[in-house]
Amino acid sequence: MSGLTDTNSYEGYIQELSKTTELLMEKIEEGNAGDIAELIDSIKETRDRGLFTEIGKLTRALHDAISEFHIDSYLDDSDQKEVSTISDATDRLSYVMNLTDAAANRTMDMVEASLPIAQGIGDDTSKLKRDWERLGKREISYEEFGALYKDMGKFLEANEKRVTDLQQNLTNILVAQDYQDLTGQVIKRVVSLVQDVEGSLVNLVKLASNVEAVSGIESDKGDKNSKPAQEEMGIFPTKNEEFVSGQDDVDDLLSSLGF
């Protein structure tokens, strides 16, 4: 083999095969059996070398993707410390589901607690309004007036508490909407991770197609699977030591720093 052509690239491999084949055709025409045998061996060697190079590239790219997305630790159950980025992303999406579920339930609880309060205010108001109109028309006895006075006092007193309860429920409903911020951040990060995985897969598919071409393997085209992942996600409460588990933990940490 001459070794003048760069067989480390797929293009180089094709170029070298083409050159040797031309030479082989010449030798066949000349009828030089010794040279023909040598050139056939050389073509075989070029093909083997091309195959090894492409497999080597594919293996390296696979290895890079595996370490980039921590898939190795996912496959190795003995190491629980570092989860794969994919299973991490799955956990995060489950977190989104739990958070939205909790927010919806919290909101509905508050609405359900508020509706009877509003109903009570409405019912009492209707009754008092009827009596109040009768009072206006002077259709009310002295005893009834005494009862109306008492009812009005009770109504006003009850309403003070009802309004406070309603305000509190409305505030809780408002705060329950914070899930939108939290889930939005998680989803944004998972989206970016999916994009990274897609980029890596496209690269792997390209390298694998070179291996197929050199080895002569025909494969089904159009397969689109995904895997890998990347990027550390800061938010999201986990049991991980690196993260605080809540506001009490934050307060403890800050007070240990002299806050």
Partner: protein, 125 residues
């Protein structure tokens, strides 16, 4: 009392704004990240800053550092309200001069407590 609320999510700004109103703070301004917050702060008239951490362009921690590096703003009370729950981040914020740190999701009571504590310290100190 003018309070600037900085968060890239309008929902969260709205939640904080409403909670502040319940606490009697009706004068609030809003910004969606550090880069839009800084000019508002530099213009003057803001007495309290509530900021998220993770925001596009300029993050909350960068805003905190920029505020502390500005002679006119270095004593401005700052409360960080964020989903960033890494211990090293909380330490980082403390070292950068934050006055309080609230992790999301939070309750109205926690926000009130932290704001009141910051005011107590500012008045005492």
């Amino acid at each position: 009392m003018n309070i600037l609320i900085v968060d890239d999510f309008s929902t969260m700004r709205r939640i904080i704004k409403n909670l502040l109103r319940d606490l009697g703070f009706t004068n609030t301004e809003e910004a969606d990240d550090g880069s839009t917050a800084l000019p508002i702060l530099q213009k003057g008239g803001i007495d309290f800053l509530i900021t998220d951490w993770n925001m596009p362009k300029m993050t909350g921690i960068d805003l905190l550092r920029a505020v502390r590096a500005d002679a006119a703003l270095e004593t401005l009370p700052i409360l960080m309200v964020t989903a960033e729950a890494k211990r090293e981040q909380i330490v980082e914020a403390a070292q950068a001069g934050v006055n309080g740190y609230v992790v999301k999701p939070f309750t109205a009571a926690v926000l009130q407590e932290k704001i009141e504590r910051i005011f107590e310290r500012v008045e005492a100190g």
